[in-house]
């Protein structure tokens, strides 16, 4: 059973606009959430994280929002750039790390 879900397999956004990637989870014991970015033929790289005691964490163009009551987190990228085109995985941690299925973001120049 998938404990971390990314319901949108793909997303296309115009350069300069905001990209919003969504992630839902089912396990209320998750206390740490991460986003990874993956380019083709490369391993995922860590992007940004958030602890369950916070509801927002910002790093440059990237902001992660956590809504614990809704068991939902989102990644906002603004402004989106063509180099942001990649697959984005969300992950949630309790005793282990659980990954979502990924969302392929395409930023159109």
């Amino acid at each position: 059973d998938q404990q971390v879900k990314q319901n949108s397999p793909s997303l296309s956004v115009q350069e300069g606009r905001i990209s919003i990637l969504n992630c839902d989870y089912t396990n209320s014991m998750f206390d740490y959430f991460l986003w990874y970015k993956k380019y083709p033929a490369e391993g995922p790289t860590f992007l940004i994280s958030i602890s369950s005691i916070k509801d927002k964490n910002e790093d440059g163009r990237f902001t992660v929002f956590l809504n614990k009551s809704a068991k939902h987190l989102s990644l906002h990228i603004v402004p989106s750039q063509p180099g942001d085109s990649a697959v984005y995985f969300c992950a949630a941690s309790a005793n282990n790390l659980f990954f979502g299925t990924g969302t392929r973001l395409t930023v159109i120049p």
Binding site: F46, A94, N96
Partner: protein
């Protein structure tokens, strides 16, 4: 800067062959992981290890085994490769199980 390396970027093997995938990390991390990534299925955990000679099954351990004889090295073994093991294999390491995992570049395995 954490570095995780994997022995091969691309491998082509025949059904029934024994396959070894090697992973080395240079950050003295306790924990190492093997995942496979398939379209629409995300990253699925095969095995992980929290210490030398220790291993735990992940979500999909069937058809795989692992070896961790040294802290920096974690090997994934396909005893008898099958076509449904064609996939991208990713190794990762982390300081603790819950914390950020650092991934290698991946090995794309094709089993014919």
């Amino acid at each position: 800067d954490v570095k995780v390396t994997q022995s091969s970027r691309y491998l082509v093997k025949r059904t029934g062959e024994k396959v070894f995938l090697e992973c080395v990390q240079d950050m003295d991390h306790e924990n190492m992981f093997w995942y496979r990534q398939d379209p629409g299925l995300g990253l699925r955990l095969i095995y992980f290890s929290y210490d030398v000679k220790m291993k735990e099954k992940g979500d999909i351990p069937e058809g795989y085994s692992v070896s961790r004889e040294k802290k920096e090295r974690f090997s994934l073994i396909l005893e008898s490769a099958s076509t449904n093991q064609t996939s991208m294999y990713l190794c990762a390491s982390s300081r603790t199980v819950q914390e950020t995992q650092y991934f290698g570049p991946g090995t794309r395995l094709l089993v014919l």
